[in-house]
């Protein structure tokens, strides 16, 4: 993901937001798949997130207006799903699988190494805005445990020693 997010600061707490024309078109295309426009809501949030890295308040309203939904309904959905971010995140999001297979194969050591390397714990973004660290439930890569996901790509098994090389590719 991770277009840079130069506007993030001004988007926080603001309802000034305009959907990118491409995103608006993509959402309207998505709507065609379903009997009711609300079904496109989750994809719409993901489309916005793909461009901005996260979903600001203004986007909630913009999506609501586009799909004819109440703002509370859109935000209710946005805050329900764990992969929709309602706060700014870094340029890259690292999701650490903390489910049992990874637990049994040592994800806790891996996560600790990540925390030390990045200097942030779950839910936080590195000072340089490069990485946000979050937990995720089972990535379905249990034969490659412990696993983690960076920007939609799954890696595993990953050892603490692998981290330096792995993270190098993400600016």
């Amino acid at each position: 993901m991770m277009a840079t997010t130069p506007h993030t600061t001004e988007l926080i707490g603001s309802d000034r937001f305009e959907l990118h024309p491409d995103d608006e078109a993509a959402i309207l295309r998505e709507k065609e798949h379903y009997e009711q426009p609300q079904a496109a809501c989750i994809e719409a949030l993901k489309i916005v997130q793909r461009r901005h890295g996260w979903v600001p308040d203004g986007a909630i309203m913009a999506i609501g207006r586009l799909l004819g939904l109440g703002f509370a309904a859109v935000d209710g959905v946005a805050t329900f799903y764990s992969l929709i971010f309602r706060q700014p995140v870094g340029r890259h999001v690292i999701l650490v699988c903390d489910s049992s297979s990874c637990f049994l194969t040592g994800y806790e050591t891996l996560k600790q190494a990540l925390v030390e390397k990045l200097g942030v714990d779950y839910g936080a973004t590195t000072a340089d805005g490069r990485f946000t660290l979050l937990p995720v439930c089972c990535l379905g890569a249990c034969d490659g445990a412990p696993a983690l996901m960076i920007d939609g790509e799954t890696f595993g098994p990953v050892t603490p020693e692998d981290l330096s090389d792995l993270l190098e590719g993400y600016e």
Partner: protein
């Protein structure tokens, strides 16, 4: 019916219910949270577990949620089962994990369903030793306070607000044990039904902010059965008083009228009762412009009598916001030939027509509850959510109830709320709205046709003709309207129970005649239809049944010198006709007597003001838009805590004044006598005697208590005045006592219930104890008497008539739009309602805006108003322009109450504000 077995006993119950509802209806206690009689079951809280057995041989059984289990014939359950009890205890324990246990400082304390259920399940010990979760609260506007820490995540708030009432700004956010109920952003809740959250929420998350400002525990309030005076629906309310102030309005259950819910105007609009500027003692202004002096009762009556005796002729001006008793006493005093209803002529003509249509259109008027059973609706020239808000909620349920039909087809019971909602999606019963401005019901309507008043009527007549070719056609109807009329007709004809809704908001007889024609046409096609006609004020219907001359007539009599004294009853004439016309008429009178509980412009210009009782201090009878006469009873005696006040019901003042005019001693007057006098004088009102029990009514030999048994502080409340506690006021007018002594139970059926309380049931859920079945009717019968009955037989169709639609080329015509907040005189004086009034807006069609050289968002000011021969100039407030795509050209939409006295159709001159000045 179904036979079920509970804890070894056999009962007959309604088989269409779920087990929880069935057991509660039997009077058996099962704790619950997420279930609500008006909103059905969702199975979320898991509090209502009972053990269910397969058959009589099964002695093992399984735990089930009683709310999600049908009360099928031969169901066998145990409520009093050890495992079920233990599980219910676990559920409350979980719900209390994060609850702040702040009952002593929580405003819900003492009428809290969570408190009741916690006690009922026996949870009295905390085992959870970890930190509680905490939340931030939101500002939700002047009506509702928000305290999310208390939330137990029952989802009732969003189910009421969104699913039931159609709101879109409140939601559930987050997931797992981190769910937040609030607005998407801070701000006033938009729904005009938000106040119901205070009763729907089982704990203190949503509380009444207006109550907060002068908070009193439920048990320390004094109550009486009240009728809401803020519109014509006649919702039953339970006003609570302490220290001579109304501190809260709660819903008083009525099985046919308001059931569980009120609108926000009714709930939060009571503040006018508590205003410091209310007249509390008689006032006399010797000469205009002089400072008023206060008088004692006797000197005041003496002076008024003296002044009126001088008069050649006294005109009495009544009021549709005053009781029948008061209006009748005025009529009796001045004589029918000198009595005006105080209603403007076009409105009065509309009211008379509505009464006539209810009798002769061939369709009966459904009760609000019955509205919900109609399966196709035409709203012709009304905006029910704005003009009679509670009815808007009924209409919404009617439209939504298509879901229940779909559910029935596949065997899903109506109480299975989420399943019914899933089946519904956007499949509604057809609702056609003909109204120029957007309405709250648009989102569930087939279409809204934005038309000017005469075109609304035209479309209505065309619909009638399309339904029944015997109805006269409309000449020169354009093809588009023809097609619309056809669509509406087909949709109404397809329905089993079509409903026509219209009313007087646009003061158009043509629209009403058209609605009547549609009703006639439907009745001839043998459908089980209904006709609902919306009136504006609490007693509009009652006063139109009583009769009297129009306000225009009364003003003419004065201005033309045919009368030289006027007595105005609880009426601000400036709200009804242009100010210059009122002023001119009143100026001609030598004596102006005003009885009111508000310091209105009319009162301020009076020679004498007599302080009248509001619904809080007075009793009387109102007739709602169904034609149902209902009695309201005084909540408290104002002089008990403020001995200097001389507030009395207007009927009492007028009775005494009349005796004085006749040179007689006043003699006896009581509520009963006043009611009987009115009933005896007006055949159409004869039934009002039976609207409520008389003063001698007793239960087990007892009066009915106005105060809960736990009422405290009685001996201390007056201690600042006198350390001796006087005898409580004696109420000879009503069966109620100003005391906790008296009957306040639920076990003996009764209609008149000041407050709902039953042992273990302190919250509003206690109403379940007073009904025949939960969500049904009061066991003592729902209060009130229907006065208007349809007459059998079919009447002829009228020829289509239209109002004068000619537009003066020099200006736009006013189209005054009803509005829930600010559109009614008295509630508009209540502070929280004032805060919720929308900014003044004028709606214009694009070409009209262009002609004025303005665009959406620009400001305009009203330079002049011409109505008939009268011309007024305003240096009026700046009004923001709102351009609306489909708004009828030639008309300017203005919110009711913005410019008092502005009549429908008045010609306006609008211009750009000059800036700075005026």
């Amino acid at each position: 019916m179904a036979t079920i077995h509970v804890d070894g006993k056999t009962y007959e119950v309604n088989g269409a219910h779920n087990l929880l509802q069935a057991c509660l209806s039997l009077g058996l206690d099962i704790p619950y949270f997420c279930w609500h009689p008006a909103m059905g079951s969702v199975g979320a809280c898991r509090q209502c577990a009972v053990r269910q057995y397969k058959d009589k041989d099964d002695n093992k059984g399984v735990l089930v949620m009683s709310c999600m289990t049908p009360a099928a014939d031969q169901t066998r359950i145990d409520i009093d089962d050890e495992e079920a009890r233990a599980f219910r205890a676990s559920v409350v324990e979980w719900l209390m994990i994060n609850h702040p246990h702040d009952c002593p400082v929580c405003e819900e304390g003492g009428h809290c369903h969570l408190q009741d259920m916690t006690v009922m399940t026996g949870h009295d010990r905390r085992r959870y030793r970890f930190n509680k979760r905490t939340r931030r609260n939101q500002y939700l506007g002047p009506f509702i306070a928000h305290e999310m820490n208390r939330c137990i995540t029952c989802y009732r708030c969003v189910r009421f607000y969104n699913d039931y009432a159609g709101g879109t700004d409140l939601g559930a956010f987050g997931a797992r044990d981190n769910i937040y109920f609030g607005r998407y952003a801070e701000g006033a809740l938009e729904s005009p039904f938000s106040g119901n959250l205070t009763e729907v929420c089982p704990t203190g998350v949503f509380t009444d902010q207006s109550h907060s400002d002068h908070y009193t525990r439920k048990w320390d309030l004094q109550y009486a059965p009240g009728i809401c005076h803020q519109c014509a629906v006649g919702c039953n309310i339970s006003p609570g008083e302490r220290y001579g102030e109304i501190r809260r309005i709660e819903n008083r259950y009525h099985g046919e009228v308001n059931s569980h819910f009120l609108c926000d105007r009714g709930r939060f609009g009571y503040g006018y009762v508590n205003r410091a500027d209310r007249p509390r003692v008689p006032e006399w202004t010797e000469r205009p412009g002089q400072e008023a002096v206060t008088l004692g009762v006797d000197p005041a009556l003496e002076r008024i009598t003296g002044a009126l005796r001088q008069a050649r002729r006294i005109i009495g001006i009544g009021s549709p916001r005053a009781s029948l008793e008061s209006n009748h006493q005025l009529l009796a005093m001045v004589g029918p030939e000198n009595f005006s209803t105080g209603i403007e002529s076009r409105e009065q003509a509309c009211l008379a027509m509505m009464n006539r249509l209810q009798e002769t259109s061939g369709l009966p008027t459904p009760t609000p509850r019955e509205i919900e059973r109609h399966d196709a609706i035409l709203v012709l020239g009304e905006d029910p959510v704005q003009s009679a808000a509670r009815l808007g909620l009924n209409l919404r349920q009617a439209v939504l109830s298509r879901r229940e039909e779909l559910a029935e087809q596949i065997g899903v019971p109506a109480w299975n709320a989420e399943a019914v909602k899933t089946l519904g999606q956007d499949r509604y019963h057809p609702l056609h709205i003909v109204w120029p401005a957007p309405t709250e019901l648009d989102s569930v309507a087939v279409a809204r046709h934005a038309l000017a008043p005469d075109d609304i009527a035209r479309l209505g007549f065309a619909v009638a003709h399309a339904i029944d070719p015997a109805a006269p056609p409309v000449d020169g109807l354009d093809p588009a309207s023809q097609e619309r009329a056809g669509e509406i007709a087909v949709s109404l004809l397809k329905a089993a129970r079509p409903l026509v809704v219209s009313g007087g908001s646009l003061a158009s007889e043509a629209i009403l005649e058209a609605a009547g024609a549609v009703a006639r046409a439907l009745s001839r096609r043998a459908a089980q239809g209904g006709l609902v006609l919306i009136r504006r004020e609490a007693n509009s219907t009652g006063l139109s049944l009583m009769g009297g001359q129009t306000l225009d007539w009364a003003l003419d009599e004065l201005s033309e010198g045919r009368a030289d004294a006027v007595v105005v009853l609880e009426n601000d004439l400036y709200q009804r006709l242009p100010a210059d016309r009122v002023e001119q008429a009143l100026a001609r009178a030598n004596t102006r007597v005003v009885l009111d509980h508000q310091r209105t412009r009319t009162a301020e210009g009076a020679d004498f003001i007599l302080p009248a009782a509001s619904f809080a201090e007075g009793s009387g009878t109102l007739v709602n838009l169904e034609g149902r006469a209902q009695r309201f009873f005084r909540v408290f005696e104002p002089a008990y805590l403020r001995p200097e006040t001389r507030i009395h019901e207007s009927w009492r003042w007028l009775h005494t004044l009349a005796a004085g005019l006749r040179g007689e001693a006043p003699g006896d007057i009581s509520l009963d006598l006043a009611t009987r006098a009115c009933a005896g004088a007006h055949p159409g009102l004869a039934g009002i005697v039976d609207a409520a029990p008389g003063p001698d009514y007793r239960i087990e030999g007892l009066r009915l208590a106005r105060e809960p048994q736990r009422y405290s502080g009685r001996t201390a409340m007056r201690a600042n005045l006198d350390v001796n506690e006087p005898r409580p006021p004696q109420d000879t007018d009503t069966p109620f006592a100003y005391s906790m002594e008296g009957y306040s139970g639920f076990d003996r059926p009764r209609q008149q219930i000041p407050f709902a309380w039953a042992p273990g049931w302190n919250s509003p859920q206690a109403w379940n104890k007073f009904t025949d079945e939960v969500g049904g009717h009061l066991r003592g019968g729902d209060p009130g008497i229907r006065l208007i009955r349809p007459q059998p037989g079919h009447r002829e169709y009228p020829d289509p008539v239209f109002d004068d639609g000619a537009t003066d080329s020099s200006g736009l015509r006013a189209l005054v739009l009803p509005r829930v907040f600010g559109g009614e005189e008295t509630s508009a004086r209540a502070e929280p309602v004032r805060q919720r009034m929308t900014a003044p807006v004028v709606i214009l069609a694009r070409p009209d805006a262009e002609a004025l050289g303005v665009r959406d968002g620009d400001s305009l000011t009203l330079l002049g108003v011409r109505e008939g021969d009268s011309l007024m100039l305003f240096g009026g407030p700046d009004i923001t322009v709102s351009e609306q795509e489909d708004w009828p050209p030639g008309w300017a939409g203005l919110p009711a109450g913005l410019l008092p006295g502005l009549g429908q159709g008045a010609t306006l001159t609008l211009g750009k504000p000059t800036g700075g000045e005026s």
